[in-house]
């Protein structure tokens, strides 16, 4: 079994590398390592091809990899914490929290919040607040479906608040927010990569402390507590890590749906384990491959018409979710 999991992991790594190379080359089969290397380390602002790599392709590929990884890991954490295969940062309203805060900053135009650090901070705070709200409700509702409905209500409530904000906003602000809401990997520039990478690594570092409790949590909260885990601090750490991933990605890519929900379920099907070290690695690999593939579809169709990312993730993710419902409920 372990052997077959290793084969799956290595196959995914090879697929990921192939997708990265195609994606960074603008969706074309044929690689130019020299250009990629030069655009990062020996950048010449007069060379137009290097500018394309540095300002457009590399940030877009980077963001697709890390957004896919982060959203899938956040989904896995939510599904284990709430013991619910349909949980995920978008379903539970966590990305809605980040969206609301980003909407407030975009439409009020306060300059600190439109800076890179400002927008990340405000999105993290929004995601954290909504995660805590969901955690609070989870203490009172026993049914898995009820919690999902509360998440959906949070989403509707947030949409309503955003509409109220839009009424008093200027046309250009509404346009910027609407485009952001479609989801996109193209809003990041090269200089923002270190900040995104740094916050992402902080989330990954915190994940190390979650593996043991997550492995126990599959048998329930009370048994986990009775095996020596401080549930209060563990729950908080899960919420913080989820908020880091969901908030960071929502700030830069918009509210991307379905990845966090569908990918962890696909990984469990592939890996057939409850070992969360393997599930996290699997979710990161499958998440990155899925989002790179979704964005490649956009790149390939781009000459004919522009597809919003959320439409592509929904086209792939929705059938997976229907399959989960038929199988588990």
């Amino acid at each position: 079994m372990r052997m077959s999991r290793n084969i799956v992991s290595w196959s995914l790594i090879i697929l990921l590398l192939a997708l990265i190379l195609i994606h960074v080359n603008g969706g074309i089969f044929g690689f130019n390592f020299g250009k990629i290397f030069s655009s990062i380390f020996h950048f010449d602002a007069n060379d137009q091809s290097l500018i394309i790599y540095r300002e457009l392709r590399i940030p877009r590929t980077f963001m697709a990899i890390f957004a896919g990884m982060g959203l899938s890991i956040a989904g896995l954490l939510m599904q284990t914490l709430f013991n619910n295969p349909l949980a995920g940062p978008s379903v539970l309203g966590i990305t809605s929290g980040a969206s609301l805060c980003v909407a407030i900053t975009m439409m009020t135009g306060i300059s600190f919040f439109t800076s890179d650090i400002g927008i990340v901070m405000i999105a993290l705070i929004g995601a954290l607040i909504f995660s805590l709200i969901i955690l609070f409700f989870s203490m009172f509702v026993k049914s898995q479906i009820s919690l999902l409905l509360i998440g959906m209500m949070l989403g509707s409530f947030t949409s309503a608040l955003i509409q109220v904000l839009q009424v008093s906003s200027q046309a250009n602000q509404i346009k910027a927010f609407t485009l952001w809401g479609f989801g996109s990997m193209q809003q990041v520039n090269f200089n923002q990569i270190p900040l995104i990478f740094g916050v992402f690594i902080a989330g990954v570092f915190a994940l190390i402390f979650l593996i043991k409790p997550l492995n126990l949590l599959v048998i329930g909260e009370k048994p986990t507590q009775l095996l020596g885990i401080q549930m209060k601090s563990f729950r908080m750490l899960i919420i913080v890590v989820t908020s880091i991933f969901a908030g960071l990605i929502t700030a830069y890519c918009g509210p991307i749906s379905f990845i966090g929900l569908a990918v962890p379920n696909m990984v469990k099907l592939l890996y057939k384990t409850q070992n969360h070290l393997q599930l996290i690695i699997g979710s990161a690999l499958v998440g990155a491959c899925t989002l790179l593939f979704c964005d490649l579809l956009i790149l390939w169709i781009e000459p004919y018409f522009v597809l919003p990312l959320n439409a592509v993730t929904a086209l792939i993710g929705a059938p997976v979710v229907v399959w989960i419902i038929l199988k588990k409920f």
């Binding site: 190390i208 402390f209 593996i211 043991k212 492995n215 126990l216 599959v218 048998i219 009370k222 048994p223 507590q225 009775l226 095996l227 020596g228 885990i229 401080q230 469990k268 890996y271 057939k272 384990t273 409850q274 070992n275």
Partner: protein, 235 residues
């Protein structure tokens, strides 16, 4: 050894008051009482999940409400009335979870831990389904796997909350026999709540009868106990 020193237990007001009670290792105790009388509250208090209103509970001289969750997990283990089973979680991995209090923050098990898991599984005669998925086990097999997990936890006290509630007669018998054997062989203090009066009278060393008027626990040795006596005190 577990000592209950002048305790009052309950969520808001006292459900039960126990002056002094000492429960020894190597013995199998059965808590008998009416529904809603406070048996589960008693078990949750002994497990450290809820605090006492008054008094303290010591296991091997340590007040269980003043130590960390990890230290407590080395003193008392729990077997719930039902474990539903988890898809993609093997029985061996489930039993090995009992070693969690002894592992580092990564939760990686040492070779000795796996050896203990296999030894205890062999003692309980469950090697045949050790590599089966827990979601594919029968209710009886899952309950024995839960007891194995508690034994792997190597605690002086194991608390079971109606462990035979969802089992057929043959499985109820075999679980009771197993608990009697485990208490003696592993020198563990086993405390179970149960509605199976006949089986408790047959296998447990001592009855802990919850008296509804005085709202206290009366310990009676099996030798001095009869079904009529238990019914008279508890119901």
């Amino acid at each position: 050894m577990i000592e209950l020193k002048n305790i009052e237990i309950g969520y808001h007001s006292a459900l039960l008051s126990i002056e002094n009670l000492v429960l020894e290792t190597g013995k199998f105790y059965a808590i008998i009482g009416k529904n809603g009388i406070g048996k589960t509250t008693f078990i949750h208090t002994v497990l450290g999940l809820i605090p006492t209103i008054k008094g303290e509970i010591d296991i091997n001289g340590q007040n269980i409400h003043q130590i960390s969750a990890n230290q407590r997990a080395k003193l008392v283990a729990h077997v719930p009335s039902k474990f539903e089973g988890v898809q993609h979680l093997s029985t061996r991995d489930f039993i090995a979870m009992g070693r969690a209090p002894y592992t580092n923050f990564l939760g990686k098990l040492a070779e000795e831990d796996w050896k203990l898991v296999d030894e205890i599984s062999a003692e309980l005669g469950i090697e045949s389904f050790l590599h089966k998925d827990t979601s594919e086990l029968s209710d009886g097999e899952r309950q024995i796997a839960s007891i194995a997990k508690a034994l792997v936890q190597k605690t002086p006290v194991i608390v079971l909350d109606e462990p035979t509630a969802f089992l057929d007669y043959a499985n109820r018998m075999s679980v009771q026999k197993l608990l009697q054997k485990v208490a003696k062989n592993a020198n563990v203090c086993i405390i179970q709540s149960s509605h199976d009066l006949e089986l408790c009278l047959e296998f447990a060393d001592e009855m802990l009868i919850v008296e509804p008027n005085k709202k206290t626990i009366i310990p009676i040795n099996r030798a001095n106990c009869s079904k009529e006596k238990v019914i008279e005190i508890a119901f």
